[in-house]
């Protein structure tokens, strides 16, 4: 077969498959199709959207959200989506543009109602106003993106989803409002049950692996006295760890909190030199078995930390 024929065959094949229906679209035709970048946004979206939305997520809770691969299968999720909700503040900058470009979905373009940068509704920490460059590590010039770890921001996210879904699907606006209220009430009740643990945490010195616990610290009152990473995103170096060991001894920090996706060898080493305890805190829904919703996640992290202090 000559090359002309091969190209012709490929073109005809494409024309054929282009006319075929997209698999899996019919069953969820009436629902808003929502894709989120993380499991936390996914869970809150499900809380608010209930059975009126069909939600999926790109990242898993046990995965570093900075380094998700832009797999073509994610493009298929985004092609037919009505809403793309993402954390923002450049958390997804390494992979999101490729996916959105590949999806070619006009509903998910910046400025469209379905393009939801969730960071727009939260108070952002660590936002730089001066000159920032990469000598400072993997800094996020627009601010620290790990804001979902403050439950107050969970409420803001739920409100944003209620507003977005209501705008895109006004027929079900009442349902979304009811669901949001139920979520907030459940969160309010959970917060009351966390008070004794929060009291144990407040003011206590801890070491964190990455800057992802800044919002959690703000909420719980834990005092982060050092980070395993010498600079955000930079793996621990021996000289930095030597200094960190001194810091831990001076401050009396008893806990090193870290995410499940980092190598814990360095943290174990520091712990062995200081008597501190390494506590793996999942930063996202699904980050550990049984952590299937947002409120469970926050509660579990608080309980785990309090019991280690």
């Amino acid at each position: 077969m000559g090359p002309k024929r091969i190209i012709t065959v490929l073109a005809l094949a494409a024309a054929f498959v282009g006319g075929a229906p997209y698999a899996g679209t019919s069953d969820a035709a009436a629902q808003l199709k929502v894709v989120t970048s993380t499991t936390d946004l996914y869970d809150i979206a499900k809380e608010v959207g209930g059975n009126k939305i069909a939600a999926t997520h790109i990242g898993e809770g046990y995965q570093d959200p900075h380094f998700i691969e832009a797999k073509p299968s994610f493009v298929l999720q985004l092609r037919k989506a009505d809403v793309w909700a993402f954390v923002g503040l450049d958390l997804e900058i390494g992979w999101m543009p490729l996916l959105l470009q590949g999806a070619r979905n006009p509903k998910l373009q910046p400025g469209q109602p379905g393009y939801i940068d969730v960071s727009k509704v939260v108070p952002v920490l660590d936002m730089a106003r001066g000159n920032v460059d990469r000598s400072q590590g993997d800094v996020h010039p627009l601010g620290n993106p790990h804001y979902w770890l403050d439950p107050e921001n969970g409420r803001r996210i739920a409100k944003l989803f209620r507003e977005t879904f209501s705008k895109l699907d006004p027929a079900n606006a009442a349902t979304y409002a009811t669901n949001e209220r139920a979520f907030v009430q459940r969160l309010d009740a959970a917060e009351k049950s966390w008070q004794s643990d929060l009291a144990k945490i407040k003011g206590k010195p801890v070491v964190a692996y990455h800057t992802s616990w800044r919002y959690f610290a703000k909420y719980t009152g834990m005092n982060i006295v050092g980070f395993m990473e010498p600079k955000p995103g930079v793996p621990p170096s021996a000289p930095h760890l030597a200094g960190l060991i001194q810091t831990i001894k001076q401050t009396g920090a008893k806990v090193i909190v870290m995410e499940p996706f980092y190598d814990r060898k360095m943290a174990d080493l520091v712990a062995s030199k200081t008597g501190a305890k390494v506590v793996i805190l999942p930063p996202s829904v699904g980050g550990a078995k049984g952590l299937d919703d947002y409120i469970q996640l926050i509660g579990s992290d608080i309980t785990k930390l309090a019991s280690a202090l």
Binding site: A103, A238, F261
Partner: protein, 443 residues
């Protein structure tokens, strides 16, 4: 690893070279990730001297807060910040590609340099308006000056999920040709691609249309292009009396069908087919001598590529593995109609272009050793036109280290065995760096 990096044969004087490279690349940075007890004492001794220059993470945060002009415990910024790009400037970035060629028998670089800035690529990228996006990549090198590597307008609002680009782009033929050379996990393109498309890959200027399909539940994408011509006019061949693309049949056309499957959450496979065809200038002989003009002849390349990737999600920062293989076959028109000047008798003119087809393939694998370190190897085999189609091979190994996402250091050793002549060893070092906005990682 040692068998890949150890230079065989007569090059005993350079036997130490890869080990020095390996030592330099591995010791300091990797020890930072995986210290052991034997290093700890010296590390502690270094601490005092180093402490002044070690940026503590808390200090970084406090610097950020100082820049903010607010105390650490204060509430963060409120919603409704102003735009981050009020002047609507495009993203500007630059990538430097530096090469050191320590090959024992002299430099193997095109310009013969031992140390060179192979290329600096400057990119300007932005949305043009609500309907288009613009991407411009300029290549700057000592050998070629400034050139337009890519410059294309992408329509972002087309119906039916169509993507259309107008301009110059890397031709979607094969797997690695769509990757910028400085982004490769080897120092050069595979030999097969270099021989069939040129050392910097195949580009085209024209129209590019793509559509994603999923009729069978998995990802498929068809990409079609029509470009000004297939490849660049060969420098060593005289021009034709009429442009090869005078007729529409002489333009370059390509098609690529991508098929992608997730095997599970950690591994996936891509199996794709490509084809490109067009007309090229091919030499003529007149009474045994090379004629002062050439004739157009059709040349096509068809191929298939396979990629398997593995990256466990939870340990994805530290572990990954990729295997890639690509086969290409160049199909040459052997008896084209000779295009001669008017009123020229074809008697005495003989077609002197390629009189056979050529095939080539490579296989590449890369394993992630640490968070920042990778070990790769590639084997190339190709029928060499310069050796009347006899097979040349090359085996190479690479140690790749990423201090961050924005810089890369690589050491490579290659044993190149041409179909004719003796085998040669190549020792290459590469450093690349990227300035500017964070660009997505190609998949």
């Amino acid at each position: 690893m040692s068998s890949l990096l150890a230079p065989p044969g007569r090059n005993h004087g350079f036997r130490w070279m890869p080990w020095v490279v390996l030592l330099v690349l591995v010791t300091t940075p990797l020890s930072a990730q995986r210290p052991d007890s034997t290093r700890r004492d010296s590390t502690v001794r270094r601490t005092a001297a180093d402490s002044a220059r070690i940026a503590d993470s808390i200090a970084v945060l406090r610097d950020l807060e100082r820049l903010q002009g607010e105390p650490r415990a204060q509430q963060g910024q409120q919603p409704g910040q102003g735009p981050t790009n009020a002047r609507l400037l495009p993203d500007i970035s630059a990538v430097g590609d530096l090469i050191a060629d320590l090959s024992p028998k002299g430099s193997t670089q095109e310009g013969g340099e031992r140390f060179s800035v192979r290329e600096v690529e400057v990119a300007l990228q932005a949305a043009v308006d609500p309907y288009f996006r613009g991407d411009v990549f300029l290549g700057v090198s000592d050998l070629e000056g400034i050139g337009i590597e890519q410059a294309y307008l992408t329509a972002t609002s087309l119906p039916w999920g169509l993507e259309v680009r107008l301009g110059r782009f890397l031709m979607p033929v094969g797997k690695q040709n769509t990757t910028h050379r400085h982004d490769l996990h080897t120092i050069d393109y595979p030999y097969t691609l270099q021989r069939m498309f040129g050392p910097e890959g195949l580009k085209g200027t024209g129209i590019y249309a793509a559509r994603v399909f999923a009729p069978f539940g998995f990802y498929q994408e068809l990409i079609l292009t029509a470009v000004d011509r297939f490849g660049e006019a060969p420098e060593e061949t005289a021009p034709t009396i009429e442009p090869v693309n005078k007729k529409l049949g002489g333009l370059g056309y390509s098609a690529r069908l991508r098929n992608y499957w997730d095997l599970n959450e950690a591994s996936n496979v891509e199996l794709s087919l490509s084809g490109v065809t067009g007309k090229q200038e091919q030499p003529l002989l007149v009474d045994g001598d090379v004629a002062s003009f050439s004739t157009p002849a059709r040349q096509s390349v068809v191929g298939a590529d396979f990629t398997y990737r593995w990256r466990p999600l939870q340990q994805g920062l530290y572990k990954s593995f990729i295997v890639q293989a690509e086969f290409l076959r160049q199909i040459n028109e052997r008896d084209p109609r000779l295009l001669l000047p008017p009123e020229t008798s074809p008697a005495g003119y003989t077609y002197a272009g390629p009189d056979r087809d050529f095939s080539g393939a490579y296989a590449f694998a890369r394993y992630q050793l640490t968070r920042r370190g990778y070990l790769g190897a590639r084997f190339d085999s190709f029928q060499d036109e310069a050796a009347r189609g006899r097979t040349s091979t090359a085996a190479s190994g690479y140690l790749e280290y990423f201090p961050s996402e924005f810089s890369k250091l690589m050491a490579g050793y290659e044993r190149y065995s041409p179909a004719e002549g003796s085998a040669t060893n190549r020792f290459l070092l590469q450093a690349t760096f990227a300035l500017g906005p964070h660009k997505p990682h190609p998949f």
